[in-house]
């Protein structure tokens, strides 16, 4: 059991963000700030991203993480936080979205 708990701590996105920061990396933090309908991750969930595009944590079940990572690159560049909104996947337009039918808002900010 101690192993499981240690493992959980290792995967904690905010702990990872602090570790990256200590290594001198630029870090962006994405947070689910609002959900409607059946959203895969609750409000308060985090995805943390570094400048190389490495990421830990999640804001959905893997549906929109790619788009959030791409936006995070801009946020790291400009330092300006950004609000993203994702809805149901629009398959005909090949837009990213949530297949579960929910809608989420994700706040992306730079650490520091």
């Amino acid at each position: 059991m101690e192993n499981v708990q240690a493992h959980d701590e290792l995967r904690d996105p905010l702990m990872i963000a602090e570790g990256w920061m200590r290594e001198g990396k630029d870090v962006a933090i994405a947070t689910v700030v609002e959900t409607w309908g059946s959203a895969p991750r609750p409000t308060g969930s985090h995805l943390v991203i570094d400048r190389e595009g490495n990421f830990e944590g999640s804001v959905s079940g893997g549906c929109v993480e790619g788009a959030v990572v791409a936006e995070a690159a801009d946020v790291l560049e400009t330092g300006k936080p950004r609000m993203l909104e994702f809805g149901v996947a629009d398959e005909t337009a090949w837009r990213v979205g949530l297949s579960c039918g929910g809608r989420i808002r994700v706040y992306v900010e730079r650490l520091g």
Binding site: M1, E2, V4, Q5, L14, M15, A17, E18, M21, I29, T31, V33, E34, P42, T43, G44, P81, M83, R105, Y107, E109, R110, L111, G112
Partner: protein, 236 residues
Amino acid sequence: MDPHLLKQLNAERQARRAVVLVTDLGDGRDRLVREGDAVSGDLGLAVEKAFRSGKSGTIEAEGRNFFLNAHLPPPKLVLVGAVHISQALAPMATLAGFDTEIIDPRTAFATAERFPDVVLHAEWPEEVLKERPFDAYTAVAALTHDPKIDDFALVSALKAQAFYIGALGSKKTHARRVGRLKEAGFAEEVIGRIHAPIGLSIGAASPAEIAVAVLAEIIAAFRSRGVGAAEMEKAA
């Protein structure tokens, strides 16, 4: 986010203290609120609610949008007694997301063979709680029937305002327990916080069934944290 704030936030989380991170979604400024800190106005009411419910969310106050991220410590479950019920309850509680520990000074009971995957303290509660005290995010189930082992843990749980306290034992056993706690100076309504008989009434018979009943009661207590029993009944 301010890097210094992230360090503070992580330190508070590791120390098992509840905090709410408030972010102004307009200008990106954030601040850390500890439980008991005074925050005025509508924002203060929302922060208070976030502490009680553990739910994060976006609110509007003073014409601005704020995101409140509630960081409550993960619930811990301490089983006093490395008994047959604990052998079923410990893995179930771990699956349900509780950091689970067992305390039992009887080394014949508290063996790694009987409890292969759980934090096990083969010591008296007096010793263990010196190093690892209960807090408001701890559930305590006293399962030995032996006052020499259970009572100290129950008294500590009452003092620490553990969110759930349960004690195994017949009506007679519990009546004697209540008598001892009264003698120790606890008021009746405080003693009334102890769930006894332990577990939801589902007709549980086997140790594993009793474990289900106890875990369900603990989850009900955890999810209604800060909500009075009457309000829960209204909602149900």
